[in-house]
């Protein structure tokens, strides 16, 4: 085999052959699910099963999972290329969120799971036989994760879980849940993040009531309120040591931020492309509206902001894959990408004038979907607090 030639000491911003092949192959799958498909899902709210099946059939869910369990053993760079390609195609978060959780969600299992657990869980996830949801957020804790109150009580060879989760996405159809719960009461812990434990277990609908939340966008990929009542979780479904739940979860947070950033950039670019096309074609006052600088300049700014955010996302991903710390970069990427994409989506609606408000022009759907990336998985405010504290040495403000 001919090695990829890379000059040493040369900063390389290009994707390698394999990364390009990944992008091209995924965009071919996406091309089979055009704008009408996603418009339809936005109106009927049906989960994009056909899309998820096509992605699963191509082996894509295993992109960042170890080879010995049937994955491709690639990194977050490649997973981010996959996620970005999906939203960029116009599938937006309806497409990305349908696969997203299966990409980064199992990460704690990959890092902290025992071999037995990896063997039991990962191949089924990659094959699409299991579908996982992610239960962290709670109604009464908000972003203050230390105050999670879902309780797990040890009883012999199992735990009994009680409590509530909020916003748990894809719980309508998932059969597995990665869930964090308190195993030691907050008051008895030395540090606020102690005493939490992580479980990956069956979503037993006789013990968990899953209630759909009617929401602003991404109708096809459900988010839910969970009411957990005496859920029995075998000890062998605990990931990592008891009390180490937060530490385990933490490992997946930076990858998740990076993926959200890549997804946001993709959606912003899809919006910008529509806006630029419309600006060229729409004639008012006998000229294309794009001939007015008031229309073309904001679009140029959107392009620059999206490119910058894209670079930050892939910088964070490259740091992560090299085993370097990437907390500041991953958070910055999420922040910058959400801002850039929100601005692009908003601008795309405005560029379309009245038609921007019509569903058949797609950009209003993008605008509703991009709000997810602004709000979740961590708010823009918390990112600013984090950067101020960790990078700039300011007093912790929260």
């Amino acid at each position: 085999m001919v090695p990829i030639e890379q000059e040493e000491n040369n900063m390389d911003f290009n994707f390698n052959d394999q990364q390009i092949a990944i992008r091209d192959s995924v965009s071919k799958i996406c091309a089979d699910f055009g704008e009408d498909y996603w418009l339809q899902r936005d109106s009927d709210g049906k989960f994009p099963v056909e899309f998820l099946d096509a992605i699963t059939a191509g082996g894509w869910l295993g992109i960042a999972m170890p080879e010995e369990y049937g994955g491709a053993g690639l990194g977050i760079v490649e997973a981010a290329i996959l996620s970005h390609t999906i939203t960029r195609s116009g599938a937006g978060f309806s497409g990305a969120s349908a696969v997203h959780l299966n990409l980064f969600g199992p990460h704690p299992i990959v890092v902290f799971g025992t071999n037995e657990q990896k063997q039991r869980f990962l191949p089924r996830l990659i094959a699409g036989k299991d579908r996982a949801c992610f239960g962290v957020t709670e109604p009464d804790a908000g972003l203050n994760t230390a105050r999670l109150s879902t309780k797990a009580t040890r009883d012999g060879d199992h735990y009994v879980l009680n409590g509530r989760k909020m916003w748990t996405s894809t719980a309508q159809t998932a059969n597995k849940i990665l869930i964090i719960a308190r195993t030691t009461p907050f008051e008895e812990c030395e540090k606020p993040m102690d005493g939490l434990s992580l479980f990956y277990t069956d979503l037993d609908r006789s013990k968990i009531e899953v209630r759909l939340i009617d929401k602003m966008g991404r109708k096809a990929v459900d988010s839910n309120a969970l009411f957990i009542d005496d859920l029995i979780v075998p000890v062998e479904d605990r990931i990592g040591a008891e009390g180490d739940g937060w530490k385990c979860l933490l490992h997946g947070l930076n990858p998740e931020r990076i993926l959200i950033a890549a997804e946001s950039v993709g959606l912003g670019q899809a919006a910008l492309e529509r806006a630029a096309n419309y600006a060229r074609e729409r004639i008012v006052f006998d000229r294309p509206i794009g001939k007015n600088q008031a229309i073309q300049h904001p679009l140029a700014v959107n392009w620059m902001e999206l490119e910058a955010a894209h670079l930050m996302a892939f910088k964070a991903a490259a740091l992560y894959d090299n085993g370097q710390s990437c907390g500041a970069e991953a958070n910055a990427a999420k922040y910058l990408a959400a801002e850039a994409a929100l601005s692009a989506c908003q601008r795309a609606v405005l560029t379309h004038g009245g038609m921007g408000y019509a569903k058949e022009f797609h950009v209003e759907r993008y605008l509703r979907e991009i709000m997810i990336a602004v709000i979740a998985p961590v708010s823009q405010e918390m990112i600013k607090s984090f950067i101020a504290e960790k990078v700039l040495g300011q007093a912790k403000s929260y």
Binding site: M1, V2, E5, D17, Q18, I20, A21, I22, D24, S25, K28, I29, A57, G58, G59, W60, G62, I63, A72, G73
Partner: protein, 249 residues
Amino acid sequence: MKILVTAKRVVDANVNVRVLSDNSGVDINNVKMAVNPFDEIAIEEAVRIREAGNAEEVVVASIGPTQCKEQIRTALALGADRGIFVETDADIQPLAVAKLLKALVDKENPDLIILGKQAIDGDNIQTGQMLAALAGLPQATFASEILLADGEATVTREIDGGMETITVKTPAVITADLRLNEPRYASLPNIMKAKKKSIDTYTPEELGVDVTPRLTTLKVEPPSDRQAGVIVADVEELVDKLKNEAKVI
């Protein structure tokens, strides 16, 4: 049986190319590139023949700058077994391509050579025909169906008047038309496997081929903008317009 296929690097079919301001060509800077779609069909056909047990090896060749290895990798991910890369930064015209492929045919002795019927950039529709002539092999162009049996290929060809079926002795050169098959998408496991497949690299000099261009491009111009159409109420109005306005009948 061994099959040789090609994977030309071309501008992606979905890209709207722009003509350079000096009219010397089109701008392909930072433009998405892909395997020529007709070559993809050729590759798919070869892989299907191998999967059906009628061939042992599919070898894919690409000619051009170093980035062409991307297209070879893509072909390997689609199922080809091995790659040959002819590296050159020269402007390679159809005759030079045909000569280089002829040199590869001499080296590899394939039993079947399948190429795209044309490349979507130059649209020359010459390479397959010239390769067959240079190599002294029978040719079956514009194939929409290929059946192999007893050292022969029975090929259905799409021609102006409809369909034509011919039988050629193998080894032969076949060029793939659009309806020959629908190429698969590369799966992630196959992209991973492609990494481990080998690519041999040659230069035109090593193959003893003079690739000096023989054609000069005088000027490249974009096609004129299309006028907006009109919707006619019925056939009578259409005929009337064709007769009296367009004056074509």
